[in-house]
Symmetry: D2
């Protein structure tokens, strides 16, 4: 799919070998896709794969919790897709959090959970919502097929603060608060804001060796991506806000 | 689609002009569909529509909260689809509950909420789960395309007991408890049990006149049906348990 | 305390060797107490203990899920305390539910969870709320010291439907729905309606032999009773609706 | 009460004219109390009141979201109460958050919600938990009367992200995640960690003019303080984790 011909594009933030890459692959079936991650090694394989199989993908190295880095990425995006509305924006930041007895956590380690999840989501939402709203305003022939969609990836820690999980849970709870608040503010404006609770271990290279008694004990990143795509296709009359996925 | 050729069928319980009929129509695109409702006037239009447009549907007048009536319906189903596994069972009972100041409720009125929702769901689940489990056991060529699925329709009253809503909320809370319990017992056995919270007014003839400031203020029964179908198509590795839908 | 001198009384429904007896004992320090349970063997010890230590207690054998039995009990209560307002009503029904694989449950076993919890709570609330409202209306010298209070005992199963717990969870979820609905209807009228989630094993004779690695692993019925009393003493400006207790 | 004779002390962080001062006053009936707030004008009245009425209070100007400021405050506390265990620590930070359409929020405004609530709570918990654990270890004659207690003040925004409330809700959700995590880690060690959801307008000078149709529409800070004290007095067998208070 050529960007020239495309009527809208998608952005996936937080792309590693698991959910992020699968979501990028899934949305690339319909849109040019921009993928953001700090480390290019994380997005290069999926970018190459999409580009070499008839889709269009662009990777931009971005520190999602850093305002200047996010601004630079969206400047590049604005040049690449100057007048295109944004069909979908997915925020799927890697964890990278420390799990420790509470009294051994440093302030920096503790705050990292918030920065990665909630500060990152704030910067990403402020950058993408104006582009998503542009898609709502289209009309007639230029109208998008599906309502513009902003999806956040949650986890079990979004609804439960376990012992020694203070860092991750504070970040994920805060992310869920933000997504609720945005759903209530931007849903009536036509942007579908959703929060997906991914409740279990995802089947990626890093977890290959983790054995479970049950053959279907790990979530499939492709099936997670199908769920995100399904959320994107829901009509404005019937938005799902929250979906929980488990193996 | 001829029943003879079909490899599985679906049952939709609680079919009126709204969600139930749309769900039946949606699942009839892939399966012969049995629709259950007390009053044939509620299911005859959708049964005729499906049968006259190339699908196969069978309506059976059933009081879902009455064990003998449910048993009679499933005897008829067993004769109609003797060896066929059940691909999907949807429990979508009509409300029909009284809303009154608490001290004016009769015991019968109060208990009606439970009977319609939780007793009905108990009888329906006990009748359908053995047929759904049959679909799990299939293998090789006879394997079903999607995991057998049991879906319950919830409402705002499933998670919030409002003033003067005691009857409906006790029924809907109990229904949600049952669906959680069944998901935990039968999910590991391969049956996808899900609960959908329909959080708003559905756009059906009865609510046509209800005006809202926003043009998309009512849930579309077709979009609800698409959500149920999506849940049905999820693979065993990645089941959603709960989905909330709002306009 | 002589009933003649008392300005209000309390009723505790569902009294066995655990929470119910402790709650009765606690409220008997301030009020004459009526205790209700099906089996007199369950309430006789605490009734005797209260009466012999300067308090006043009356036990009435009552099937709380049977309207006629509840009516007979409240007729007796009306004779005993003809003009007294009700200061507090506590609904603390015994479990007595069957835990089984879902497909082995009979309809009767399943419905027993609802009858014991939600039907019982309905009958109890309809009988006590008029007496509690009488206490709100008092003024001046006759004013009660604390707002009239209606407390329901919940459990972990009030918020989580576990596998094979369908019977108990449907009853407890429904009870929580009812208590939310009553809090919203009667709170503004001055009755404090609260729901206490007792989340763990209670230290009673029946659980004496259950060993846990931690010495404080079992909830103390006296401490639970103190919590109920605390809820009763909250002023109208600052009602707690829900409290969760764990060891 | 002289510090010399006291067997333990309490710390209240976030003291203004409302809940904080009432909590300080309530705990000062049993313990010397340290009150922390950025602006001395906020704590001076209650400190003076306690000291002049036979209690003992010490105010320390502290920026709770700044590690160096918190460290300095606890150095001062260590000098004042060198060997005393901490009986209770209450975290009750002022709001001071900006409410705006999401796209108008600056990053600094957004992060302020987290800093005030979750970063502050992190610093406060790391400083107080070692002192609270000291109280658990006491034995025999030196044993404290009540288990050491750490209480966090939540709000409606702790469980609901409303439109334009992104800043406050992300902070309050994160605070709740932290308190759950700490309860699960330190409860088994004997520290009672609790989270109180204060769900409504508190009756303080700033809200005096806010009129409501109902005379009891505002929460009383004294009754909130009584609830905190009640939580403190619960025995180790029966801790409440969460309590919601509404008018």
């Amino acid at each position: 799919m050529a960007a020239a011909a495309a009527r809208a594009f998608a952005i996936v933030a937080g792309v590693g070998p698991g959910t992020g890459s699968s979501v990028a692959r899934r949305f690339a079936q319909s849109y040019p896709v921009v993928v953001l991650a700090r480390n290019p090694a994380n997005f290069t394989p999926v970018v190459d794969e999409i580009n070499s199989s008839g889709g269009k993908a662009l990777g931009i190295s971005t520190d999602l919790s850093d305002a200047a880095s996010v601004r630079a990425a969206f400047d590049k995006i604005a040049k690449e897709f100057p007048d295109l509305p944004l069909a979908a924006a997915i925020f799927n930041p890697g964890g990278g959090f420390v799990r420790k007895p509470f009294l051994e956590l440093t302030e920096e380690e503790f705050v990292a959970g918030y920065n990665s999840q909630a500060r990152g989501a704030f910067l990403f939402s402020q950058a993408t919502l104006p582009l998503l709203l542009k898609g709502v305003d289209q009309s007639g022939e230029k109208k998008l097929e599906h309502p513009p969609t902003l999806i956040f990836t949650g986890a079990t820690a979004s609804v439960r603060g376990s012992a020694t999980f203070a860092t991750f849970a504070t970040g994920k709870f805060a992310l869920r608060a933000l997504s609720q608040s945005l759903a209530r503010e931007f849903g009536p404006q036509g942007v579908h804001v959703a929060h997906v609770i991914v409740d279990g271990v995802i089947d990626i290279p890093r977890t290959k060796e983790w054995k479970f008694p049950h053959p279907d004990a790990k979530l499939s990143p492709e099936a997670i991506a199908d769920s995100y795509w399904f959320l994107h296709t829901q009509p404005r009359t019937t938005f799902a806000f929250e979906l929980d996925l488990r193996p």
